[in-house]
Amino acid sequence: MDDELTWRSGFKDVLPTVFGYIGIGLAFGIIAKTSRFSVLAAVLMSLIVYGGSAQFVMVSMLAVHSPLGAVVLSSALINARMGLMSMTVAPLLQRESLFQNITAGSLLTDETFALTMNKLNHAGRTLHSSWLHAANLAAYLVWALATLVGAMAGQLIPDPDVLGLDFAVVAMFIGLLYLQVITDRTHPLVKQVGIAVFVAVLMVILMRFMAGNLAILAATVLGCLFGMAVSRHD
């Protein structure tokens, strides 16, 4: 990763995350199809909802005809952490037009957010919408295309899990977390590691009481508060 914030650089930087979108997108397409959703419904879900775990939960809830309100509320809760990510990225684009802000925010994902945080460490903590648009757009198109292929080919293509493709997204988060911790200069290394350990322990405890997606949101908020508390004692 370099310090360039151009479209070209955005497409180049997003490449490693594409495997994750392909693996999970294929899996989503296949599962939607086997749950008796049409190809159109699967692709529309990827284009309109555009949130990995929320889409899987939607498919399972819609398949058993859960009430509409419950489906929408679940998707909103699963995606609630996006609000935290958007709020973290937004100040970096504050000087750009409202249109650039809205379009950049519309396609922000866990992956492009994490990539953006890593990019900041290389680009002097600045951001430009061109770079983010390129990364976002590539991710969005690959996600929709993988869904389409998964839903059309269905059982014809080998299960992406067997190929290890489902782990691509986890591997990417390992990489982005490690690179974030070793290159981010805004907080000392030891504090970042401390917060990571705190959040990890918290996740185990919280998942005793709530599903993973809610635990992610709660652990992130508590982890940030922990970071602030530690900073008070510096």
Partner: protein, 108 residues
Amino acid sequence: MTEYVLAAIILSGLATWLIRVVPFILVKRFTLPAWLVEFLSFVPVAILTAIYVESLLTYRPGQWPGVNIANLLASLPTFLAAVISKNLLVIVIVGIASMAVIRLLGWA
């Protein structure tokens, strides 16, 4: 596609879009207070850790979470690749290969 499915997609999409976009609109209009800026500075490390640890656990209602052995095992070579290469593409490819090998050997 039934109206029920279409309505669920459109409404869930709208809710998600608002969650994504409203912070950008608010931040464009108002400057964030210092405490919130400090709070948000911890979001990257906290949220990436939380997302990763979630993938290592399986939620079992009313019980302690289980451990996803396959993901835990595949994490070791992947983490090693991160330390050695510091290159995201290498890390992802090593991760995919590790998982494929673990499944091939029937370890998980």
